[in-house]
Symmetry: C2
Subunit: 562 residues, 2 copies
């Protein structure tokens, strides 16, 4: 732990709380709101942010990680970047029971701090991470393999905005009730009581990070748990520890500066074959678990971590229905980007694209099913050639299982666009692949009835648009989905698709032809997942995401003036 610079907590509350309140109002209004600029060259990030960020990232690796938490004394060597370098941060080995005990010991102090102070401390953590956004982005880039600019945006400002949103929701929910009241029951002899309402956390919280979006998917749970008073243990995916290690290091620094125990935020890095997440999640003192990752482990958690509130984001099959378009060129370019971004390694990437067998009507005339496939393939080429441009969209693939899936998927149907290897001009070791697009018939349900995480999409010939929508309804109900897109020229189809979306519990984007993509949601305006289908039992971020992380404890006594 670096040196402590004491924070005046009252001043911190005065500085940050108005922003928290404004952020909650913005979240309820759903308009544009952001605290952390998404442009990497924004003046907020310095005069020359790219080289400065890289220098800071190197300096951090020189310095090493400084955490104040129980350790079993060992060190876990850091990750190897999908772009080549061995990363220079090592992580302490831990005993899960010791972490939970330390967290539980720190709870009463954090509970007593109250909603305002906790929210202000959380915002300060976010702001200090915001000041180190390029370091955070590089940590995401070099572990997840996300392309550089995307890793910055999704990994730093967007993730921090999601965290800020969670703080705002949590604060609003915790402060919506009076903290005390003089209760007077009318009558001949009125009964008068003094009642006090205390916000109490559920217990120790655990956030289990995912491989592909270590910060974006984790920050909402991290901030929601901390803000509501739950001491936090962060268990990153073993392949992408570094970004969350930085988050925990900064959180501990702020907590200590503000006079709190560093054990309110701790890092749990697992060694090989160590079931750390299972042990943490099933500890009786752990009462909140946030998880993003496989359906298998998400379901295991839901089944076994019964003492906790378990928030899961698992896998699903995201669909697009193409009924027609008024802007064919825009539609195909938009779809190509959605399929390509980060090599399709997003829980929001479209996987099944349903098109009526007889083709679609567009501003460019009728296009047959085959022509739709050709146009998507051409749009992929446009987007990804030359390779030095393509790698900026695709990033690198760090997981062998993704490569295996591509190979297997070729045999699903007719290959419309094959997955190709691209050379990364700056990183010869990087494994880069373009998306695979395969055409199948709706009768070949096995081809689209399962998630195939990675740059793999299936163009499905459906009987009709009606039939396509019914396929989506069924897929979402059985397999889950985070996203759903529809292209059409007809209000009737939009209304029909909205009913399907409501029945199945998935949000829908219509006619995206410009710079908004179906796989992207923005904090404060778009909800990420609904919590209503098998892909996720929670939404980032809504009220259900925060209200069951704390409870209210009442004390009452006859009023002295009663």
């Amino acid at each position: 732990m670096a040196e402590t610079t004491p924070i005046d907590v009252d001043a911190l509350v005065e500085r940050h709380l108005p922003d928290v309140t404004a952020a909650a109002a913005a979240a309820y209004a759903r308009g544009f709101h952001s605290r952390y600029p998404e442009r990497p060259t924004d003046p907020a990030y310095g005069d020359d942010p790219f080289p400065e960020g890289e220098a800071a990232f190197d300096a951090w690796q020189q310095r090493g990680l400084h955490l104040d938490q129980p350790t079993t004394g060992g060190l876990i060597v850091g990750e190897v970047s999908p772009y080549g370098p061995q990363l220079g941060i090592s992580y302490p080995t831990v005993d899960p029971a010791a972490l939970v005990a330390a967290a539980a010991d720190a709870l009463p102090q954090w509970r007593a701090a109250g909603p305002d102070v906790r929210a202000a401390v959380c915002v300060e953590i976010l702001d200090r991470l915001g000041a180190r956004a390029h370091e955070l982005g590089l940590a995401v880039h070099h572990t997840s393999g996300q392309p550089r600019v995307m890793a910055f945006q999704a990994g730093a400002p967007h993730a921090l905005d999601r965290g800020f949103e969670a703080v705002a929701y949590a604060h609003a929910a915790m402060t919506r009730h009076a903290t005390s009241v003089r209760w007077e029951k009318p009558g001949k002899h009125p009964t008068v009581m003094h009642k006090t309402f205390h916000v109490a956390p559920q217990g120790v919280a655990v956030t289990i990070g995912c491989r592909t979006f270590p910060t974006w998917n984790a920050m909402p749970g991290i901030m929601a748990s901390l803000a509501t008073g739950n001491p936090l243990i962060v268990k990153p995916h073993p392949a992408t520890v570094m970004p969350l290690a930085l988050v925990v290091e900064v959180a501990q620094q702020v907590l200590v500066d503000a006079g709190f125990s560093p054990h309110l935020a701790m890092l749990a890095t697992e060694g090989p074959d160590e079931p750390l997440a299972r042990r943490l999640a099933t500890d009786q003192r752990v009462r909140v678990v946030d998880f993003t990752g496989s359906s298998a482990f998400g379901e295991w958690l839901e089944e076994h971590a019964r003492q906790a509130r378990v928030f899961t984001e698992k896998s699903g099959v995201n669909s697009i229905v193409i009924d027609g378009t008024d802007h064919a060129a825009g539609m195909f370019a938009n779809l190509a980007f959605s399929l390509s971004l980060y090599s399709g390694q997003m829980c929001t990437t479209p996987q099944a694209l349903f098109v009526p067998r007889d083709g679609i009507d567009t501003d460019e005339g009728h296009l047959s099913f085959e022509q739709v496939g050709e146009r998507i393939a051409a749009a992929l080429d446009d987007l990804l050639e030359p390779p030095e441009k393509g790698v900026q969209v695709l990033g690198a693939i760090g997981d062998q299982a993704v490569l295996d899936r591509i190979d297997e998927a070729r045999s699903l149907g007719t290959v419309l666009a094959d997955s190709r290897a691209l050379d990364h001009p700056q990183a010869p070791e990087a494994v880069v692949r373009t998306p695979l697009l395969v055409a199948v018939d709706a009768g070949d349900a096995h081809a689209y009835d399962a998630e195939r995480f990675g740059p793999i999409a299936v163009l499905v010939a459906a009987e009709s648009t009606d039939a396509a929508l019914e396929h989506v309804r069924d897929l979402v109900a059985r397999r889950g989905a985070i996203t759903f897109g529809v292209h059409t020229r007809e209000d009737k189809v939009r209304a029909q698709a909205t009913e399907v979306a409501l029945d199945a519990g998935v949000s829908v984007s219509f006619d995206l032809t410009q710079g908004v993509y179906v796989n992207q949601t923005t904090a404060f305006s778009d909800f990420h997942a609904t919590g209503a289908n098998p892909a996720a039992n929670a939404s980032l971020v809504d009220e259900a995401f925060v209200t069951c992380r704390f409870h209210l404890v009442e004390t009452r006594i006859h009023a002295q003036d009663g």
Copy 2:
């Protein structure tokens, strides 16, 4: 189903919505608020409400139950009152899958009605039940065995107020977000989208009623589920069907009058040995379950109804710590009432009363442990003699298991007040028992380490007040508790007890010596349970109780003006 009198839904919204909004504000402020007068002779209930209520109750039995729902054609004969009479309402037999299918079919219409209309319809249901409060109270009296006035108050106005509170919370939560927004992302070429946010219910809801408080414990879940758009199936306890049958009959009438399907509220009465609750709760289309009852079945539901949000109130051990008092006479009278009310058949009745072995300081001087026991016994006699007065507090016991438990509990320790049978002057068949009070040492943990539902209390000699508080912390954490009371003259002890309450997750009442009892909570001001200990995973009513009964589905499209 009786004749339909169409309701103008817009006018209904105009009439009820301001009250719903005001009720939400009141709930957040936690002051006194009530819609349904608790005085049985309030003019709202007619000129001569007792005989009029009885006449209406008889007339209802003559008329019989009229429900519009799928039935298997059989009839289940009504209950026998613990006060003697065979009750005259029979219930239709049902096939659970057919009920769920009918409910699911009715869902889209109810979802489309939106939060305002649903809230207004819910209030209309409550108001019509309020107009029949004496019938509802008599139905509770003659099934649960609650004494007449208590059955009226807890069974009708208080239950309806809790339901109203749930509607208010649900409406506030559903309407907190904008329903649509023009989202503009700043930039050289601003991106503009039009976004719409739809409130969607989780699916079919099931409320499983309990034997002792058929309406009070069920109305919050019933109203929270209906208001948030979930079609509802009510499965009462087989011994106390009648009150909830009236609720469903009235709900169907209002729904039909307002132009909705009666299948949005249906009754599921089970025959002998029919596992109806299990079948309903585990149906894949059932997404919300509310349950009050045994820990065994509550835990079964939590384990098996995995497709649903399950809200449970189970059993626990409620404690009182007596450290001292400034008003000994008031304290003993208050405790005697709490132990006696409805023969201790409340989930909030104190069961373990901890007293320092060396006695306590009071306004009447020092009282030894033995003297404390004697004074409680004397206060019980004062309250319950003569029998015609006693039966008005005790009510009748309808469950043989309660009587068996009394017999078993005598051997737990030294009997300070034995449980006696009282003759009910108006109902010779009624089984009435006074509370049993047994003294034990804190070392005899088996004597107080389990719920003994009924008129059974244990006075526990503890090493000290500190030790007593630690026993409570441990009991709440392991066994759960809905209530906790403390009597003391010391602020230090109050502070200590508050910490215990916060750690254990239970609310605490201090120094109740007047007309407020530890086992009573009042809608809009007191939270019933915290949801944070094994006695209940939810609180009646808070935001967590409503926010996960619905989800938000977003649709977005590029704005035409963008």
